[in-house]
């Protein structure tokens, strides 16, 4: 009789131990899935500046020709063989070196580097056929045989006018915009 009582109590105690064990040390897990996205990009330098000093000295006479060059690198993650073109466009002062009183220097440009057909001669700062800002005629195809950095050389030529009265002293400025499309 006593044995039966003990077995009943013990069997209930065994059942009781199972949930109580959950009080002991343990762990619980969850997962966190994270996604970031990278876009295609063709990254230009923050600014490409050609300063007066880059012309190797100031103009000091009529019909003088001086040139300046800016080398720069664009970084792209576009896949190799992606068709990429660069189109120049006139910015401030229509892309012609101009002073504050609208006097101008004869201005022309070249683009060389990682393009399939680099310029071999200067092209006038205009939008007519054969000129630097002709759209879309003067677009440059980027050499995309490999991805990564693309190196370019932007060249500008300025010529003072034959009449000194048309070229007063001072700074002559303009801007050009280069746009890559793919």
């Amino acid at each position: 009789m006593l044995k039966n009582r003990l077995s009943l109590v013990l069997s209930v105690l065994v059942v009781a131990v199972v949930p109580v064990a959950a009080w002991g040390a343990g762990s619980s897990q969850g997962t966190v899935s994270i996604t970031a996205h990278v876009d295609d990009f063709f990254e230009w330098p923050a600014a490409i500046t050609i300063a007066a000093a880059d012309f190797g000295g100031n103009f000091n006479g009529t019909s003088q020709t001086k040139t300046a060059t800016a080398a720069f690198t664009c970084n792209t993650n576009l896949a190799a063989l992606t068709a990429v073109s660069i189109q120049p466009a006139a910015g401030a002062h229509a892309g012609v070196l101009t002073d504050g009183a609208a006097h101008t220097l004869t201005t022309s440009y070249q683009l060389r580097g990682d393009v399939t057909v680099p310029d071999a001669a200067y092209k006038a700062a205009g939008a007519a056929g054969g000129e630097f800002f002709e759209t879309p005629g003067n677009a440059y195809t980027v050499d995309m045989t490999a991805t990564g950095a693309k190196n370019f050389t932007f060249m500008v030529q300025a010529v003072t006018p034959a009449n000194a009265a048309n070229a007063p002293s001072g700074d002559y400025t303009c801007t050009v915009t280069l746009t890559a499309t793919w």
Binding site: W23, G26, G30, A36, H37, V38, N75, N77
Partner: protein, 155 residues
């Protein structure tokens, strides 16, 4: 016989009380969690970041939380390419909150555990920062994914 039943009934009532309390083991509410960084990377060396809230329900004192991953799954990867990935964790119930970004491999390891004070519901905020690694070649466009396991342990 009647006395036997009384003994059994008393023991069973203790068991039920213990069983109902034990059901409140710490758990992650709303898991699995997902975080898609809304801003895209569109340049070399560019960083984007975002965060997700993790809700811990715990009625036991002395809980610890840590993150881990399978291999280097803590890195945001797209095939063989990866972004520089950093994390930080904040939450008022933590014994310490991260003020600075922590490299992924230093963050997602059991040795980088956080103690959670008190009981109840704790909201932890997981921040992730993804950076285009830059040189020598920018990583290609696409989705970069990582998977972390967040674990709560209790004594």
């Amino acid at each position: 016989m009647g006395r036997n039943l009384q003994i059994a009934a008393a023991v069973v009532s203790v068991c039920l009380i213990a069983g109902s309390t034990a059901s409140a083991n710490p758990s992650w509410v709303g898991a699995p969690y997902s975080l898609s960084i809304p801003s895209h990377i569109s340049g070399r060396g560019q960083s984007v970041s975002s965060s997700v809230n993790l809700t811990l329900d715990h009625d036991i004192l002395g809980c610890n939380v840590y993150f881990s991953a399978d291999g280097d799954a803590y890195l945001l990867k797209n095939g063989s390419n990866s972004l520089t990935t950093k994390y930080k964790l904040t939450g008022t119930s933590l014994d310490h909150q991260d003020a600075n970004w922590i490299d992924a491999d230093q963050f997602a390891t059991p040795s980088n555990a956080y103690s959670v004070s008190g009981t109840g519901t704790s909201t932890l905020t997981l921040y992730v920062q993804a950076t285009e690694p830059g040189a020598p070649t920018p990583v290609p466009a696409g989705d970069y994914t990582a998977t972390l396991t967040v674990t709560v342990t209790w004594p």
